[in-house]
């Protein structure tokens, strides 16, 4: 019992209770299933608040630890080890929030096999939360791979016309990246006297590096092995090819989670593992990562602009936005890294909102081609205002959340010692223009101009109460982080400082 009542164990595995209950509900009783899933997700959200209430934000270390010896074989000691610190607490809250929102958004959009859908969704939540909390590489890897399975089915069963192809590609692409990480994890574990426990690794590794037991080349190879796996997830240019397929084909709720949380698992991986475990390689790699990030920012923005499909535009915009996050992470200074962590949350909010809204109108129009749209503002004013907020949040308008993250990232990268050149940040700043170009294009083609085909052919209804309620939490956080980001920075500042102070910069 004591094991179950740990806040982090509870927040991770509580959705399983919902899965269990849903398993016993008749598949025909769709509303009962929906309500059970929603209540489970809301309860999980409350549990995450409860965990947050116990979180000491002045403490830079791992907290609320749930640590048990799990697998003991030969000399190996593998732990069930969950803990949270300033680097991950916001992402956990984002996960529980977006999970509840996504379930609400699937209320009327998903009509087929509701039971399986909700079961997969709750399972996905378990995996994602576990990824952000696991402090043992073995456990982390299990959660990491586990998220693939429900997501695979969500795309493959409830997706668009090319769902099987997209789901398979998503699965294989991510899997391929993970294999190298697995080898690296094993190598690390062997070198560090049979442990996968991250704090123990962090304690032992400096000695291994100093003694040359792990050579600088080996360290770099380990960095690359981890990086490859995470970079595919982010996705960093040029490893993004799975993303437009998965995003476009996924059902709305899947896209929201994919963009909002799953991509953050990649950036979080860099933050939690690459940077502290391989400090020298990190510093060596920083300019290269900055280069890839910069290319991604500009490339993603340009490619977004040329899309004819609304959802695909938003999908590619993630390549650009996550480029900013990577740039901030590898600035390796307090401004850049804090901005990057905040921007992970921001991207989840703003891109999540964009996908939600596109899904809401798609339910009525069944088209995502820009050429079918135009003049929606008049027909759907509330929808238009919501979209306006989401678009400008994504564009980084000051006063909204995106700006705070983007600005601190660029500021940090501009003066970063690790990147050692202001040119990357300088060119990345051009992304600010390009973002305005593609996002205003999106807004204009949908809401402004003369009436498009969707207006003349459908009798469009503005957002209903459920849809408004779905959006409200996102809008609240979009303004909150934009106007008063201090509490958020305060949460992550001590952990960021600790992370950076360990680097030989």
């Amino acid at each position: 019992m004591e094991f179950l009542l740990q806040p982090l164990t509870l927040v991770t595995f509580f959705p399983l209770l919902g899965v269990f209950v849903i398993a016993f509900i008749n598949a025909e009783k769709k509303d009962a299933i929906r309500w059970t899933a929603l209540i489970t997700a809301l309860a999980t959200l409350l549990i995450s608040f409860w965990a947050f209430a116990q979180f000491d934000k002045t403490n830079p270390n791992l907290q609320l630890e749930a640590k048990y010896a799990w697998i003991r074989v030969a000399d190996w000691n593998i732990y069930y080890y969950l803990a949270v610190d300033g680097l991950s607490i916001l992402l956990v809250l984002l996960t529980t929030l977006l999970s509840a929102i996504s379930i609400l958004s699937a209320w009327s959009a998903v009509q087929e096999r509701v039971k399986e859908f909700m079961i997969f969704f709750l399972l996905l939540e378990v995996g994602m939360t576990g990824v952000f909390l696991a402090q043992d590489l073995f456990l982390f890897y299990i959660f990491w791979e586990f998220t693939l399975v429900p997501m695979y089915f969500i795309i493959g069963i409830w997706g668009g016309p090319r769902r099987i192809y997209s789901a398979l590609k998503f699965f294989l692409y991510t899997m391929a990246g993970s294999i190298l990480m697995l080898l690296a994890i094993i190598y690390l574990g062997v070198q560090a006297q049979n442990t996968f426990n991250v704090p123990e690794l962090l304690a032992r590794l400096p000695q291994l590096y100093a003694s040359g037991q792990i050579s600088p080349t080996a360290q770099m190879l380990l960095f690359v092995a981890f990086a490859l796996s995470f970079a595919i997830k982010v996705p960093m240019w040029p490893l993004h090819s799975w993303l437009p397929d998965a995003h476009v084909e996924a059902p709305t709720a899947g896209s929201v989670i994919l963009a909002g949380v799953l991509l953050k698992m990649g950036t979080y991986g860099f933050l939690r593992f690459n940077i502290p475990l391989f400090p020298n390689a990190t510093i060596q790699a920083a300019p290269w990562m900055a280069l890839l990030a910069t290319i991604g920012i500009l490339y993603g923005a340009a490619v977004s602009y040329a899309q004819a499909d609304i959802k695909k535009l938003v999908a590619y915009s993630s390549v650009s936005h996550l480029g900013f996050v990577m740039l901030g992470l590898f600035a390796l200074n307090a401004e850049g890294v804090s901005g990057a962590i905040l921007q992970m949350v921001n991207h989840g909010l703003s891109t999540g909102a964009l996908f939600l809204l596109i899904g809401m109108v798609y339910e009525q129009t069944h088209t995502r081609q820009f050429s079918d749209y135009g003049g929606l503002w008049k027909a759907m004013p509330i929808f238009a205002v919501m979209m306006l907020i989401a678009v400008f949040s994504s564009m980084g308008l000051p006063g909204l959340n995106g700006f705070v993250g983007e600005f601190t990232i660029l500021l940090g990268a501009f003066g970063s010692k690790a990147i050692a050149s202001p040119w990357y940040a300088g060119f990345s700043t051009l992304g600010v223009i390009l973002a305005a170009v593609y996002l205003l294009y999106l807004f204009q083609k949908m809401f402004l101009g003369p009436d498009g085909k969707v207006i003349t052919e459908h009798k469009l209804k503005d957002l209903n109460w459920r849809e408004i309620v779905t959006m409200i939490p996102l809008v609240v956080f979009i303004f909150w982080i934009g106007l008063y980001p201090k509490p958020f920075f305060d949460i992550l500042a001590p952990a960021v400082e600790k992370l950076l102070s360990a680097l030989p910069l």
Binding site: V73, A74, E145, V149, Y152, I164, Y165, L168, K169, M175, I179, L182, I186, S241, Y299, A302, V303, Y305, A306, Y316, N333, A334, E335, S338, G339, G375, F392, L397, P398, G399, F403, F407, T408, L410, L411, G412, F414, G415, P422, G426, T429, L430, V432, I433, A436, V437, L440, Y441, Q444, F447, L448, G449, P450, D451, Y484, P485, K486, F489, D490, A493
Partner: protein, 705 residues
Amino acid sequence: MHLSETMNSGFYYLAPLLVFAPLVGLLINGFFGKYLSEKVVGAIASLASGTTFLVAVLLAHSTALNHGQVVQVPFAAWIHAGGLQLDWTFRVDTLSTTMMLVVSGVGTLIHIYAIGYMHEDVRFKHDEARFSRFFVFLNLFILSMMILVSGDSYLMLFVGWEGVGLCSFLLIGFWYELDLLSLPSWSNSNAAKKAFITSRIGDVGFLIAMFLTFWHFGSLQFDAAFQAAPSVAQVSPGAITAITLFMLLGVAGKSAQIPLYVWLPDAMAGPTPVSALIHAATMVTAGIYLIARSAPVYSLVPQAQYIVALVGAATALFAATIAVGQYDIKKVLAYSTISQLGFMVAAVGSGAFVAGMFHLITHAFFKALLFLSAGSVILGIERGHHTHAHHAEPKGKKKKEEHAEVFDPGDMRNMGGLRKTMPTTFWVYVVGTLALAGIVPFSGFWSKDEILLETSLHYPLIYWLLTAAAFFTAFYMGRQIWLVFFGEPRSDAAKHSQESPPVMTIPLIVLAALSLLGGALNLPFSGFHNLTHWLSSTISGVESLPFNWGVAGMSTLLAVLALVVSWFLYGRNPLKEKQIDPLKKPLGWAFTGMENKWFVDELYRAVVIGPYERLAAFLADAVDWKFWHDFVHDTLIVGGFNGLTKTLLDRNVDQRGIDAFFNSWGAFAEWLSANLRKAQNGFIRTYALATLLGVVLILGYLILK
């Protein structure tokens, strides 16, 4: 000085109301506007703006009592990340209160005028429900502008800077489904987009200037940055030059200077009160405010200052020539605004910060007046057009056909003779024109004279460019007066045009009075340099020059000459219906250039926009999709994998002696690819499970070995 010490001696505690009064206004109208009558909506919005003005007056009063001391009113913590420690603090000093007064004063007048203007505008365009939205945006604009001018750091200023950009976007695209002729079109929304994106190009400059400021000066807070500036100038003067020039790019975007001015003429797609408030009197002057605010930095680098001045002067002359060749009443004023902003930029670039601010104030009066009068003219013509069309129309005809006829109420070639039908508008327009042309004793004369005088002393080239621009200014304004108000009506609409109601004309009369008397703020005679004295407590080292008869005489002479020439061309023989412009023949290609804005839009389309669109399409279709997605991933990787497994299974290969080890791998691959194929048929579960199982097996083996 900190708030606590001066709290009791002033109204500083009211500073947050600058922002919160319009916030309350916009929230009420935003949520309940559709249930309220037009008068109530207009009153709430005007009251909100009026409250801001009142607060600005009280703050100015307190500042005067405190002898111009800077007071920082802390409000909330904002961004605290690493070395970046910024709070939301209101800065009350003579420079910021000056801007507050101008923005909220002119803003409130325009709010009132807009009640009348929008009442008719929404009816002419058949969407009365949109009335309240206009005032929500207008209040949002005042709010953003107040953040801009009251910010205590570059970043806070930037928040307002982008906020007003958003409002500009929303208001230019207010009639987002129409074009200038009120026909269904993408044109207005394109204009809105163009304005935002062009300004954003400038914003990149501003952002980079901020990054440089932060890493070189250690802070984005004004006082801290300015304090660090002189010592940084000793060590790395290049950094300061870079900061000032990148900032200039931001100024060019917001204040419509070369090379980023192109958005402003298109911005006339917005309703006329918007053109007056945002695109003439207030938002576009934000760049001038920014340079005046950064005076301590600019003063350290004379070369950069010269470049700023040159950009301003070149813009002043260039835009003035284009204004000569325009036929749309608002387009003339738009290019005139660009030109006058050039004067201000040239002034602050030459270190004449007070002269620049002085011209900013008087320009806000007379250009707001001119735009609002132009709006009155356009509505007057619309009224004429509608009553005429109504009378001429045989009964029983459908309403739609009335609008089948395309009529441009803003085209000066459709006007003429309006002084008789719209006398009040005519007289205030004349006042605005004389002020803009720089005729004694109107306000524009004094402020422009101060700029010319300052530049004549330091930068002769700038002086001559501006003097030439001043000549053109008087000329195109004369041309406008003759074309619009004199001669005979050149259309039925003009013949039947009607004067505007008092809710519109009273703000015009107030602005006319300000345009006439505004020069009194800073008369160039000893004992009268009020503005200089006022601003000197914020901007150090400003000089007050004595009146110079030579410069003043020269500019007056040229202005009068230009008006006479314009009369000679347009007043003596008024334009007839369908007659081409009398300047077109003598000037030839030069006039074609002016008419077509020197083809700059076309140039940008060919050099920047077109290539970017093609590059984006190429990257998206060819590089990312056909090559990277289809070829590399689907053909090379998937095909290669399939090919490999087939090769390994091939009997010939097998028989040529591949040993059992590889054979087993081949079998494994066959098994895998068989699963893959199954997977593509929908049996992925098997594969997923198998892979997971495989991973676990490998792992298990490695752990146990």
